[in-house]
């Protein structure tokens, strides 16, 4: 990643992408980066699809138990988190639009807002886990009594809820870390002349994390409530 801006006049062309050596054209490089992220998202979608499939099978096998277990989930925290993530997607979209316009300072502000909303989600999720712990709703903890112990099949669903939300939280945590790294780089002068497409490509990933939650929330919290 050489930092030279080959022949680009900052005043005339505030937004662009520096071509890496192995690409023939900038267009090719942009196409490759975008396609690469879509391919990654396809993979991630199948990862979560397996999880949602398992949740669906549990509902078919044990409808009453799943309903009883789902009733213990903190619907309003989940709903608030859905709104938080939707707002973060909005700020992410704004950052992408601003990056295209070359408005770097405002873009960085939007990226920071996005990361903050992501962090807010994780804090709410952490509080939710804490409340679950207090209510003895952590059946995977072998030494802690479980609130619905008389219905063994509820364990399955509640544990799966933890696997699914933890996997999503892990994605979000990684996403925030990468986002902060990008924001740090994006705050330097000349970033948008060299790597504008980073913002667009990363935006796809952020929206995807949002999308997974939008599927996870109804599958876990809402159906048959």
């Amino acid at each position: 990643m050489s930092a030279d801006i080959t022949g680009a006049n900052p005043a005339a062309d505030p937004v662009g992408v520096t071509r890496a050596e192995h690409f023939a054209t900038v267009g090719q490089q942009r196409h490759a980066a975008t396609l690469g992220m879509w391919a990654w998202l396809l993979t991630e979608l199948l990862l979560f699809a397996g999880l949602f499939l398992t949740a669906l099978i549990l509902r078919l096998l044990h409808p009453e138990a799943v309903q009883a277990a789902a009733g213990h989930l903190k619907f309003w925290i989940g709903a608030t988190n859905t709104v938080v993530l939707l707002c973060s997607s909005l700020t992410m979209s704004a950052a992408i639009e601003l990056s295209r316009l070359g408005w770097q300072r405002m873009m960085v502000g939007c990226l920071l807002a996005t990361a903050s909303l992501g962090a807010l989600f994780l804090m709410l999720k952490g509080y939710e886990y804490y409340a679950d712990y207090e209510e003895h709703m952590m059946p995977f903890l072998a030494r802690r009594p479980y609130a619905l112990a008389e219905q063994p099949a509820t364990r399955l669903f509640v544990n799966l809820y933890y696997v699914a939300t933890a996997l999503h939280a892990l994605h979000l945590f990684t996403g925030i870390a990468i986002l902060l790294g990008i924001t740090w780089k994006a705050s330097r002068p000349g970033f948008l002349q060299r790597h504008q497409n980073w913002i667009e490509v990363y935006g796809l990933y952020w929206h995807f994390i949002d999308l997974i939650w939008i599927i996870a929330f109804p599958v876990l919290y809402v159906v048959n409530r």
Binding site: H31, A32, A39, P139, F140, N159
Partner: protein, 559 residues
């Protein structure tokens, strides 16, 4: 094959008495830089391919030694050589290492990495740093699994079926599972890199139907990497959670279902068979036209067959569960769909055969491997139809018939294609020619050794010997001893190339840019290629496989 060849740069003109390194240090990718750092932090797809080649060769040796122990134990029927526990660990190490750390990465990570940019006329893969990252991810996963082996081994078999792996096994299952999970990401990222590269990095004029079949099969393989691997990742995550935290999803005591793991597992692991087989088909599709000097018969059908296999393979996983209480209707559907796999497979075999027909054949080492591949793949494929037949499956399910069947595909197919490809592209990769007589001898050893090892297992399985047992009824001893004896011939066949190929690195004749008179962009550049593959933008020929003899042999010239 001209012996003079093209030496590097002006090397041909130099004074032969001047030591080579001082005067004209070659500027190819192998010699451009020589520090350790330039290898372990390289982003050159060709060097990364060699990193993979070295690692998977090491894993192949580990897996092969474990197989040797398994065959040794089975020389006697009463388990006198190895205890049940040791035997279980030996076949688990063999399976885990061979499947996850050799067969799946084998051809894609080495030849795919090396050749795809060369074949499409690109300077590198689309994401060179990601490519290096995948190798490090691969090695990290391998480290976990090796730790499991060193600490005392795993006894679940490579399939990690619940509830044995989650509740009953007292061995080092967790590190092995974590290792296999991590390795999956390496596959995913390699597949992602290939898909993007093939879509976006083709040289001007390199249309989809001018791509070599090798690239087509790797495209199909990469789609499986992207679509199937995440499902096994999830299944393994659930398995890890089950073993570590008793989540219960696969535990009937809590209302879970162990067969659900088998569904998730085979949804990946059946397509994984095609991860292993398709790249080999690509290799054979390159070797056969080159050594018949004839255009590939039915190019488009061979390309479509690769995509066809990659599609149908997602809908056949249930044929691994015919005797596990799956509904009859589901079994019937899975059986029919499994039969459908035979169609694109046969298309490929017929097209290779038709390419050989009336070609100008040279039976050099790569072609011997290719011919061996075609024969063994047919046997492995046809016995797959036996197994897909519901009534026969009841009889031979989980017997040595299955073991023999998939070894005909995995070893007779993938390993032979891997070795054929290694010999075919060795001059391109290293710039050196290996000993042709030794090449042919070891190809013969491997073919004979393989058949002596595995053909008896078809009979053993048909007679009812189950797989995964350390002991067996004494009447099966003769065939088992025969199989073990065959494995020693096979081992010799594997050892020879390790010696003469390494020897050729220093003492082999220098290879010309195109020692086989083969077509394809990789033969247009020097051997070994320069760091960025081509001197200029390569000229893409109008037709792929533009060999002197046409196929079909009409004599007419068609465009």
């Amino acid at each position: 094959m001209s012996s003079a060849g093209t030496l590097h740069g002006d090397a041909a003109a130099r004074d032969p008495h001047t030591p080579l390194p001082t005067l004209d240090r070659p500027d190819d990718y192998l010699h451009a830089q020589s520090t350790l750092r330039s290898w372990f932090l390289t982003t050159d797809h060709k060097r990364i391919a060699l990193l993979y080649l070295a690692s998977i060769t090491a894993f192949f040796v580990i897996g092969a030694v474990a197989a040797g122990f398994v065959r040794l134990a089975l020389v006697v029927p009463d388990g006198a050589i190895m205890t049940n526990d040791t035997y279980n660990k030996a076949f688990t190490i063999h399976g885990v290492v061979m499947v996850w750390f050799f067969l799946i990465p084998s051809i894609p990570a080495t030849f795919g990495n090396f050749l795809i940019p060369l074949m499409i006329g690109a300077k590198d893969l689309a994401f060179p740093k990601l490519n290096l990252t995948s190798w490090y991810i691969f090695m990290t996963g391998a480290l976990f699994t090796l730790v499991a082996v060193v600490l005392g081994g795993v006894d679940t078999g490579w399939t990690f079926y619940a509830p044995l792996s989650t509740a009953f096994s007292n061995t080092w299952v967790l590190p092995a599972l974590i290792g296999v999970t991590i390795v999956g990401f390496s596959s995913i990222l390699t597949g992602l890199n290939f898909v993007v590269t093939i879509h976006t990095m083709r040289a001007p004029g390199m249309t989809w139907f001018r791509l070599p079949i090798f690239v087509w099969t790797h495209y199909a393989t990469s789609l499986i990497f992207l679509l199937a691997t995440p499902v096994i990742t999830l299944a393994l995550i659930l398995l890890i959670a089950e073993r570590a935290f008793h989540v219960g999803v696969f535990d009937p005591a809590y209302g879970g279902d162990p067969v659900l793991f088998q569904h998730l597992f085979w949804f990946y692991s059946h397509p994984a068979v095609y991860i292993m087989v398709l790249p080999g088909m690509g290799v054979i599709s390159e070797i056969v036209p080159a050594f018949a000097q004839k255009k590939l018969f039915g190019y488009r059908f061979v390309a479509y067959a690769a995509i066809g296999l990659a599609s149908v393979t997602f809908f056949v996983w249930g044929h691994h569960m015919f005797v596990n209480g799956q509904s009859d209707l589901a079994s019937l559907a899975f059986s029919a769909l499994s039969f459908a796999v035979a169609v694109p497979s046969a298309v490929k075999v017929y097209n290779w055969t038709a390419t050989i027909h009336k070609g100008s054949l040279r039976l050099d080492t790569p072609m011997l491997y290719a011919m061996g591949y075609i024969g063994l793949f047919v046997l492995g494929g046809l016995t797959g139809l036996y197994l897909a037949t519901l009534a026969i499956n009841q009889h031979i399910h989980a017997t040595y018939f299955v073991v023999a069947h998939f070894h005909y595909i995995m070893v007779g197919g993938t390993v032979l294609a891997f070795l054929g490809g290694l010999h075919f592209w060795w001059p391109k990769i290293t710039g050196r020619m290996y000993s042709e007589p030794w090449g042919r001898i070891s190809a013969l050893f491997i073919f004979i050794g393989f058949n002596v090892t595995f053909f008896p297992q078809f009979i053993l399985g048909y007679l009812g010997m189950p797989r995964r047992y350390a002991t067996y009824p004494p009447e099966f001893q003769l065939l088992n001893v025969l199989s073990s004896a065959g494995s020693t011939i096979l081992a010799a066949g594997y050892l020879f190339p390790m010696v003469y190929l390494v020897y050729s690195l220093w003492f082999g004749r220098r290879a010309s840019a195109n020692p086989w008179d083969a077509k394809g962009l990789e033969w247009e550049t020097a051997s070994p290629p320069p760091p960025h593959n081509f001197a200029g933008v390569p000229q893409v020929p109008k037709v792929p496989y533009d060999y002197p003899i046409q196929a079909p042999e009409t004599g007419s010239h068609h465009t």
